[in-house]
């Protein structure tokens, strides 16, 4: 369990997160959803443990702040892209922690090749990361996180630059981490996708958590809709899987899709 108690995060005078208390189960996929500016990115960064916060965040009973023993992968919303570094070098950075300073094991090289193949970057190892397209860069970033073999992976909008097919491909790859007991925490604007992959959802609004729980409970709750000012609609598929969309007009269309033509 990751236990968050009375978490408050400030930027200057402003409180971006206010008194958040929520638990996130280990070994599961938890998705943070909420409108722009709700504080999702801020919460994700707090979970990383690099910067000071007030309140407590305990991961397996240990305070996360400056706990250098954890192996946490972090996929930021907008990464700082280093110039002059190749895709292979970039992904290999994920191995630093495991290989130790200045070393590069054979295992790492094999693993990185494998991951590059999984993320469909294999032909691009020697291309510079600054020359990648938006989606390719995002995959390189995720590849680096996978190379880390983390115990916890934090993903901030991991699919925002991916095409439809790669969204699925990449999320499937991430989902497989659960087999190894990895905890996954991500933000995701596409709540349909979130509901497809996550077991738990945390709904945020205005720097607070308004609801958290299993997907099935949260998805149909008024709190979710409320977080988006009731501008979204929720449908359910035959299989029970939900689809969440916003309507184009205020007189929101509620149509039912037909079979493919």
């Amino acid at each position: 369990m990751i236990e968050i108690q009375d978490l408050t995060v400030r930027a200057g005078a402003r409180e971006i997160l206010r008194d958040i208390s929520v638990s996130i189960p280990r070994g599961k996929w938890t998705c943070l959803v909420g409108p722009n500016g709700a504080g999702k990115t801020t919460l994700l960064k707090a979970l990383l443990g690099m910067n000071a916060y007030s309140g407590t965040i305990k991961d397996n009973g240990v305070e996360v702040f400056k706990d250098s023993k954890r192996n946490v992968a972090f996929v930021p919303q907008s990464p700082q892209i280093p110039s002059g570094m190749s895709v292979a070098e970039y992904v290999m950075l994920g191995r630093s922690k495991r290989d130790g300073w200045g070393k590069e094991s054979t295992k790492s090289r094999a693993l990185v090749s494998e991951i590059l193949r999984q993320t469909q970057l294999f032909g691009m190892q020697s291309q510079l990361v600054i020359q990648l397209s938006g989606g390719e860069m995002q995959r390189a970033l995720i590849a680096r996180a996978l190379a880390q073999e983390p115990e916890l992976i934090l993903l901030d909008e991991p699919t925002s630059a991916l095409d439809l097919h790669h969204q699925i491909a990449v999320l499937n790859n991430i989902e497989m981490l659960k087999d190894r007991g990895v905890t996954i925490i991500s933000t995701m604007h596409d709540i349909t996708l979130a509901a497809m992959y996550a077991e738990n959802i945390v709904v945020m609004r205005d720097g607070r958590v308004s609801l958290s729980g299993p997907v099935s409970e949260v998805i149909h709750s008024p709190e979710l809709k409320d977080a988006f000012d009731n501008r979204i609609s929720v449908y359910t598929l035959d299989s029970g899987r939900p689809v969440i969309v916003a309507a184009k007009d205020s007189s929101s269309e509620r149509e039912i899709p037909q079979k493919e033509v």
Partner: protein
């Protein structure tokens, strides 16, 4: 290969000069085989040229490595090893040695300039407050501290204008003072600093990312920056106190190696160290021979030979930014 290159350049360095020594005799003398040099030539080789060439290699390696590290840490291609006030502090220290101490100025000079350089950087650190939370703040703080030290130095020089020429010639950077004692103490600081920097070079690549990303990769960016800057500063302060301010090496050699190898990562740090060492050994050879019997300031040669070469690389190989 880099090692062989450096050794070759070093051999050139000890061989040429106003008095020419032959390669075979040099080698025989060095390995202790019979048929080596004798008398004044032997002294020339062992007590004058050898320490000088070694000092040139140490200083060149120190400046190039520190420059490369500063450029990464501050994410700034303009960064050079003198950035945080080492140069200005050392200059002030040297001026103080000339103006306030009577007697044995040259014995005190290295100590004064070393302490001055380190103190200036510490002041920059202290004033910038949260150390490395904001590299740019540290950098501006370094500039201000450096300017302040230079102001005091200039003022002192005004008040003691007889110190103008010696300070000026010290600033120009000289390897004339090389002897085994200087090589001894400077090699300890410089070699251990370079060893530290090369050992963390892979981690340094992580500083090209955002702090959060670096942290998640197992790097403590604040601590790593401090280690890197402290080691680089120690190497630079030592180089400066052993040989004055030798410009150009620290900023250009790293860019040159990056331009030639088309690599920006810090894997090339060892190459940069060797390139800096070889470059300065050659430059010193030029300083001793080009205008012989006069000796040219080494800074003149570094820029005179290095600049056109660098410009050529800059123009012809699209620099990896």
């Amino acid at each position: 290969m880099a090692v062989a290159l450096l050794l070759g350049v070093g051999l050139l360095g000890v061989s040429f000069g106003p008095i020419h020594l032959h390669f075979d005799q040099i080698v025989k003398t060095l390995v202790g085989a019979p048929g080596g040099l004798k008398g004044q030539d032997r002294t020339l080789l062992l007590d004058l040229r050898l320490p000088r060439v070694i000092l040139a290699a140490l200083v060149g390696g120190a400046l190039a490595t520190s420059g490369a590290v500063y450029q990464t840490v501050f994410r700034n291609p303009l960064a050079d090893p003198y950035l945080l006030g080492v140069a200005a502090g050392a200059g002030l220290g040297a001026t103080l040695a000339f103006t306030t101490t009577g007697g044995n100025v040259y014995g005190l000079l290295p100590i004064f300039s070393f302490v001055g350089g380190i103190l200036a950087v510490l002041t920059s650190f202290f004033i910038s407050g949260k150390f490395f939370a904001e590299p740019n703040t540290l950098l501006l703080s370094g500039i201000a501290v450096g300017s302040f030290a230079t102001a005091i130095q200039t003022y002192l020089q005004q008040r003691h204008s007889d110190a103008l020429r010696p300070v000026y010639s010290w600033i120009l950077g000289e390897l004339t003072a090389a002897n085994w004692r200087v090589v001894g103490w400077s090699s300890i600081y410089i070699l251990s600093s370079i060893a530290i920097l090369i050992s963390i070079s892979k981690q340094l690549d992580g500083l090209m990312l955002s702090d959060e990303e670096a942290y998640s990769l197992g790097i403590n960016p604040h601590r790593l920056r401090i280690i890197a800057v402290v080691a680089a500063t120690l190497a630079t302060a030592t180089a400066v106190s052993a040989s004055g301010l030798i410009g150009f090496v620290g900023i250009v050699v790293p860019h040159l190696v990056r331009g030639l190898t088309r690599r920006v990562t810090n894997r090339s740090l060892a190459t940069i160290a060797f390139a800096g060492a070889a470059f300065l050994v050659l430059a010193d050879l030029g300083a001793r021979t080009l205008l012989s019997p006069a000796e040219l300031p080494i800074g003149v040669i570094t820029a005179f030979v290095g600049a056109p070469f660098f410009l050529f690389v800059l123009r012809n190989r699209r620099m990896v930014r």
